[in-house]
């Protein structure tokens, strides 16, 4: 991969929703360039368009106007199925409310992305990832038998197991108490570092925001502040 090509790029990205017959612009002319390997936090009050931006970056939603480029390739024009394949192969997700499949065990949840791709020796890799998040012996448990922190750790293993080049996280610690949240954050950052993934996360949590390379602040759908932080980004 040519390192000059940014992992993600948006051009005049705009998303308008229809709210009770009135057009409501939730995201306006967002221009972003995210190089490979960067750790980005999107911050802002609720309703500022954070999740909408995340959804557009993942190809879960389509922009009203503007473009999204993934590794230099426009994805806003792809079909639903092409987008699904893109997510399957190159993107990992972590959600605020974990979103594990209730009828699959922890190990099976982690296996799922590998099974979708059709990877061989998938169980070993899934087992290894579970071990990395410290749940080697909980693989046969169903989500309902795990605590919130444990569930989110399973979700982290699932997000990284197929070595995605981009990881998107939506308030990954939002549903956890601060101690558990802290532990989960450590694991997330470690995995991101070890796998070299680009990580874009939406958060309210100052503790999280303080650990990233770059902070993007949104307000009413527009970028109001975009600054590099942390060791690499110090001016």
């Amino acid at each position: 991969m040519d390192s000059a090509v940014p992992r993600l790029e948006t051009r005049r990205l705009t998303r308008t929703l229809d709210s009770a017959g009135q057009p409501l612009t939730v995201l306006r002319d967002v221009d972003l360039v995210v190089p490979a390997g960067q750790l980005v936090a999107i911050l802002g009050p609720s309703g500022s368009g954070k999740s909408t931006l995340l959804g557009l970056l993942a190809g879960l939603d389509r922009p009203s106007s503007g473009e999204v480029l993934f590794d230099g390739e426009p994805i806003h024009t792809l079909s639903e199925d092409r987008l699904a394949r893109l997510r399957r192969d190159r993107i990992g997700f972590v959600f605020q409310s974990f979103h594990l499949l209730r009828n699959l065990t922890a190990l099976e949840n982690v296996l799922l992305p590998l099974e979708l791709i059709g990877v061989r020796r998938a169980r070993e890799r899934a087992g290894a990832l579970l071990a990395e998040v410290g749940l080697a012996d909980r693989g046969h448990h169903y989500p309902s038998q795990l605590s919130g922190g444990e569930q989110q750790r399973v979700a982290l293993a699932r997000a990284f197991v197929h070595r995605p080049s981009l990881l998107l996280a939506d308030e990954p610690t939002g549903n956890l108490d601060s101690r558990t949240g802290g532990a989960v954050l450590e694991i997330l950052l470690r995995l991101q570092r070890d796998h070299g993934s680009t990580l874009v996360l939406v958060t309210h949590d100052e503790a999280v925001a303080g650990r990233v390379d770059r902070q993007i602040h949104l307000l009413d759908g527009a970028v109001v502040e975009d600054r590099l932080t942390g060791p690499d980004g110090q001016p």
């Binding site: 879960l60 699904a84 959600f95 979708l116 169903y142 309902s144």
Partner: protein, 841 residues
């Protein structure tokens, strides 16, 4: 109460989906119940209303022997009008013509006198009075006969040895309900002409009836007392007196039995609907737990809250039942078109208030009774839930729960008794349904456990298969009840189809090579050698012929039949008084086995050999003396042997076999059994009919085919009704799936986010429903095989036969129906877009 109703209404609004689903569960079964009950009662009512036409008289006196002077004497002091008629089965033949061979057909001949019928009328084309049409050797024939023989009105037709002119087609005969089994199409001739046909000879079976119209038209009671008086005066027990109020007793009994059976099948689909109701109520209450806790905090007593939900269930049940009743009424508009006889169809009146009431009551009852066990959970909702969502439920009240279950069982039995009109049948039905349901639940449980144990990584194939398996094995799968219901429905349909198959097979079983294909009756002894010659020329094989002496029992061991018959039950009286057929042979046929005594062993004694069961029934032993009345001539025979007969063989067999010397001079006829070459039966029959007008040919295969047509029609009706159960089950499955739509939608969105294409997701869901359908199909299929085997061998006493493809078809149907209903019901969930995972908090 007003508060209760108001609160119930508030609770129900805004739940349109659940309302519709709940209603459908009840409505399907109620429609079946109303349709069956309405059909049964309107047919019964129609037959009763038209009973005078159906008898053609106020009362009728019937016998297989000519009605003698005793009948005239018995009627002497009763003011009446009378007309006589005679009925018999015989061959009719087209008259010889230069350019074509005569053709023959077995018909049911009815020879009627002037005045027939007293009530109702015979409709003909052209429309003229019957008496006028039958004058001077006129005949009226059913259109299908004319068509088969290639005749038209104005052509001639030979009946016995007499030629008749066909003067009209028969359109409607008031006292005959077609669609029931008949030997052949109807032909009317005049009673005076019957004697000239030569058909009323020895060995022919002629039913004689005198139709009586009472001049002073009495009400029902009076009529019955006249009939009773007549019965007292007519000593001959072979003479039957019936009044119009008892018209068509056999038909009505048959209808009632059929209605009872169909009523149970209909009830079954209602019970399956009950399973859906129970499930829907449980899901419904799950969403109301917080509301219930709040009501408790507001000071509602638990009993009040329970009542609140019972009232809601009652209202929903009533709504569903009313919808079902409307559907049932619609079915009653359509169904009569499928009945075999338009006359019967005309009796069907879709507006049957009692049937509607029956359906509505049963439907509402099922709704409440099946919901009750689920509804009891409102008692367990802790008020503290308003503060903490994980508050422990209150302790269960065992007594109430067990009571609710017991109530369910009793209610099912009561409904079954109501439907079948018989408690004995009802308990067996209830036990059967319970047993089957338990077996299905157990089997589903075992299968799920087994699936859960399969290491999913070890499975080959796509993710979707593994994912589907996981869905089956997951704890508390929401579609369990649906699997049970679908299994039950498939069980019913398969069992019905296998029962029908076994019956049909029994009837159409390849006749062995030595089985006769036709019987010839009414042969005069002196005709036999010529007839045998004719049969041989027509290619018949295995011609077997025996003499037949028609006689009646007069006394056994010195006691007269009237003495013996007094106080005896109906079947014994019939055995004593019916016409007996005696043959005589030198040696016993192979299918007979001597049990006691010896054949023709005592010199100088006129001997007879008696079949064992016949002997048992009449109390006849070795050494007994039996007195017969042979056309007025007494004949006394001593029992010197008792035989066992293999009735399954195709030999011509008799209860009574006499020593040849003892009876050879008695008036007699002959009976023959022959095997006619397949395909040449009609030609052989035509040949016989042309030369031997008094001989009647009864073709076995043709008769069987008539029975089969009737049986298949009946079986189709039963299967259609049985498939209502499957429809109920599918409604339940769809409902259960739709109830979980929100959760499934979230799952779909997530799977799409993780990179599953839409197609993958559909395959994944289809796999899950296919597996569920496979469980239902497998268990329902095996259950259907077992149930049919039990019914066929125990209840019908017929050999059970199995066709594997029907089981396979059931299995496949289970999968196809389940996938169809499941995927359709998930269509909204399947459309969920991946972005929604982010919106969900």
């Amino acid at each position: 109460m007003r508060l209760l109703l108001r609160q119930a209404w508030r609770d129900l609004r805004g739940e349109r989906g659940r309302l519709v689903y709940f209603s459908i569960c009840i409505a399907v079964g109620v429609a079946a119940v109303v349709a069956v009950a309405g059909l049964g009662s309107s047919l019964e009512r129609g037959i009763r209303r038209e009973s005078k036409q159906l008898l053609g008289a106020d009362l009728a006196i019937g016998s297989w022997r000519p009605l003698g002077e005793d009948v005239d004497r018995a009627l002497e002091d009763i003011p009446h009008r009378r007309t006589d008629l005679a009925e018999l089965a015989t061959l009719v033949v087209t008259p010889p013509q230069p350019d074509r061979q005569p053709r023959s057909q077995l018909v049911e001949l009815k020879a009627v006198g002037h005045g027939y019928p007293f009530y109702g009328s015979v409709e003909t084309d052209p429309p003229r009075p019957l008496a006028e049409l039958l004058e001077n050797r006129g005949a009226v024939a059913a259109p299908e006969l004319l068509e088969r023989l290639g005749l038209d009105v104005g052509d001639r037709l030979r009946v016995g040895s007499e030629l008749f002119e066909v003067r009209a087609r028969l359109l409607h005969e008031p006292d005959r309900i077609a669609g029931a089994f008949t030997l052949g199409p109807r032909v009317f001739v005049g009673l005076d002409a019957l004697e000239r046909t030569g058909l009323v000879a020895l060995g022919s079976r002629v039913l004689r009836r005198a139709l009586i119209a009472l001049d002073e038209l009495p009400d029902g009671n009076h009529l019955d007392s006249v009939a009773e008086t007549l019965r007292g005066r007519l000593e001959d027990p072979g003479v039957r007196v019936e009044t119009y109020t008892q018209a068509q007793p056999a038909l009505r009994r048959g209808l009632r039995r059929l209605a009872g059976f169909l009523g149970l099948v209909a009830l079954l689909s209602l019970l399956v609907g009950g399973v859906g109701v129970a499930q829907s109520v449980r899901a419904w209450l799950d969403t109301h737990v917080d509301a219930i806790a709040t009501l408790k905090c507001l000071g509602w007593r638990p009993r009040q809250i329970l009542l609140l939900y019972v009232v809601q269930t009652l209202l929903l049940g009533l709504l569903g039942a009313l919808l079902g009743a409307v559907a049932g009424i619609c079915a009653l508009v359509v169904v009569p078109r499928l009945l075999p006889d338009p006359a019967l169809a005309a009796y069907v009146d879709p507006w049957q208030p009692r049937a509607i009431l029956r359906g509505t009551v049963l439907g509402t009852m099922v709704a409440v009774v099946f919901s009750l066990p689920s509804l009891l959970s409102v008692l367990r909702v802790p008020p503290s839930r308003v503060f903490r969502s994980d508050a422990q439920p209150l302790p269960a009240t065992r007594v109430l729960e067990v009571g609710a279950l017991a109530l369910t069982v009793i209610a099912v039995a009561a409904m079954a008794a109501f439907q079948a009109g018989d408690w004995d049948v009802a308990w067996r039905f209830t036990a059967g349904v319970l047993g089957t349901a338990l077996a299905l639940l157990l089997a589903a449980f075992v299968v799920r456990r087994a699936v859960a144990r399969i290491p999913r990584g070890a499975l080959p194939g796509r993710v979707s298969l593994r994912h589907g398996l996981a869905a089956i094995a997951r704890p508390a799968s929401a579609t369990q009840g649906a699997v049970m219901a679908l299994g039950l429905g498939l069980l019913v349909v398969l069992a019905m189809s296998l029962v029908e198959h076994s019956l049909t097979r029994q009837l159409t079983r390849e006749l062995p090579d030595d089985a006769p294909s036709a019987f010839l009756i009414g042969i005069q002894p002196k005709q036999w050698s010529a007839l045998e010659q004719t049969l041989r020329e027509a290619g018949s094989e295995r011609i077997e012929s025996v003499p037949v002496i028609v006689a009646r029992l007069a006394e056994i061991d010195g006691r007269t039949v009237s003495e013996l018959a007094a106080g005896a039950d109906r079947s014994r009286r019939w055995a004593l008084t019916r016409e007996q057929r005696i043959t005589y042979v030198d040696e016993l046929p192979a299918s007979n086995e001597l049990l006691a005594g010896e054949l023709w062993s005592r010199a100088g004694v006129a001997e007879i050999s008696v079949e064992e069961e016949f002997a048992d029934d009449l109390g006849i032993e070795l050494g007994s003396t039996i007195g017969f009345d042979v056309q007025g001539v007494p004949l006394e025979l001593v029992v010197t042997s008792i035989r066992r007969v293999d009735w399954e063989s195709f030999d011509v067999n008799f209860f009574l076999i006499a020593e040849p010397e003892a009876v050879a001079d008695a008036p007699q006829a002959r009976l023959a059994a022959v095997r006619m070459p397949a395909g040449a039966e009609q030609a052989a029959q035509d040949l016989v009919a042309a030369s031997f007008p008094n001989v009647t040919v009864i073709r076995v295969r043709e008769l069987l085919e008539r029975v089969l047509v009737l049986l298949r029609k009946l079986a189709l009706g039963v299967r259609v009704l049985g498939s209502f159960t499957v429809v109920s089950a599918l409604a339940i499955l769809a409902g259960a799936v739709a109830a979980g739509a929100a959760r499934r939608g979230a799952e779909v969105a997530l799977l799409k986010t993780l990179g599953m294409t839409r197609f993958d997701v559909v395959v994944c869901f289809a796999t899950e429903y296919a597996l569920q359908g496979a469980i239902a199909g497998l268990i329902g299929g095996i259950g259907g095989v077992v149930v049919s085997a039990v019914v066929v061998t125990q209840a019908l006493d017929v050999e059970w036969s199995f066709q594997a493809w029907r089981l396979v078809a059931t299995f496949v149907a289970g999968i196809v129906l389940s996938v169809g209903a499941g995927v359709l019901a998930s269509s909204r969930a399947l459309r969920r877009r991946p972005i929604e995972v982010l919106r969900e908090r």
